[in-house]
Symmetry: C2
Subunit: 232 residues, 2 copies
Amino acid sequence: MQTGLPKFHSIFSVDCVVFGFEDGVLKILLVERNEEPFNGWWALPGFFVQHDEGIDYAAERILYELTGLRDIYMEQLYTFGDVNRHPEGRVITVAYYAMIRLSGKNELHPTSNIVKKAFWHPIADLPKLGFDHTEIFEKSLDKIKRKISYQPIAFELLPEKFTLTQLQNVYEAILNKKLDKRNFRKKMLNYGILKELDEKQRGVSFRAAALYKFDRRKYAKLFQKELSFMKD
Amino acid sequence: MQTGLPKFHSIFSVDCVVFGFEDGVLKILLVERNEEPFNGWWALPGFFVQHDEGIDYAAERILYELTGLRDIYMEQLYTFGDVNRHPEGRVITVAYYAMIRLSGKNELHPTSNIVKKAFWHPIADLPKLGFDHTEIFEKSLDKIKRKISYQPIAFELLPEKFTLTQLQNVYEAILNKKLDKRNFRKKMLNYGILKELDEKQRGVSFRAAALYKFDRRKYAKLFQKELSFMKD
């Protein structure tokens, strides 16, 4: 290695994997690209970092410009730097991910001219995405699959008050398997991290289900006691 | 955002945080840089990615050239992309980290002319490092602090056979606090993931301590049973 060699410069981008949960279905935020040669491609919201912005800031800006979403807490997932990952030359990308509650507040209004539209798509029947975005999506799904085993991330996707069926749906969607209803409820209630409310589900006339809240204080205690090797 | 704008190109680097454990002390692998304007700086082993190599490959190559270590399993830690993190312009860096057993096999023989030498330094009295490498080191230490709560990473730092005192030393070094000896041993033995061997520590004439091995099969079971929310 010589220090005098000309330094290789790469184009640098960010890509955002935003999960949302609605009506029992786990969805991901996609855009339809507008510009050639990618016109019509479906992809994760992502674009190039500018010379005067940090990468975390770039991720927020680009998510906002391409989808209209803002104030989303995103974490770094992984950096993808294979030589041939982008058709237009060497582009190294940092992927970010987030999980959010879907509600009327999450309207999508892209302001960038590089996308035709932004939309939510169920992960269950996701078509092949542009670039290596299918790989990025799969890596983020792996991440939340592992994370759901030791952190209460399911609650980030649910409304503040939820039924046990909704909670089970989140787990089933992330783990991509059916769980036994009795067993799931027993385990979940045994953890002692759910607070049953004096309210029932609305809008159902018959056998309205009980609503629950997540008890953060009890979760923190459980985590310290059971999930930790070495807290005194 | 305009698609026609010239695309910003950044220099791209990797930095490696390698932890090693020896004689009860947790250490980190450093280099002394050789070239101006960084002559004499202490830093993490790291340098620029080439145009024709993936970033994972670059991390392995650079660790080998700057320290002589190879075949080290490194994982991505985080990507640092602040605008002003490097004194010579915009350099975005992917940090990798690893934990290894230190032994006679880990001799350090840099082949690159950008370093004077490579060496292990105790983390307990680490001086300020060049660039933002102190920040990168601290982020990696946070990572293993969190990880030690739910994964048996302490065993990656120990020889295959170890005493309970050595094991406690690893936890104390990573968590940066003294642990109660009786309590530590009780907890550790209760997990059932240690196998006591029919051997004693060598080279001590009086009260040689028992040697233990880590039982991966039992750990996997424990992890599934206790640390997981939703494995059936």
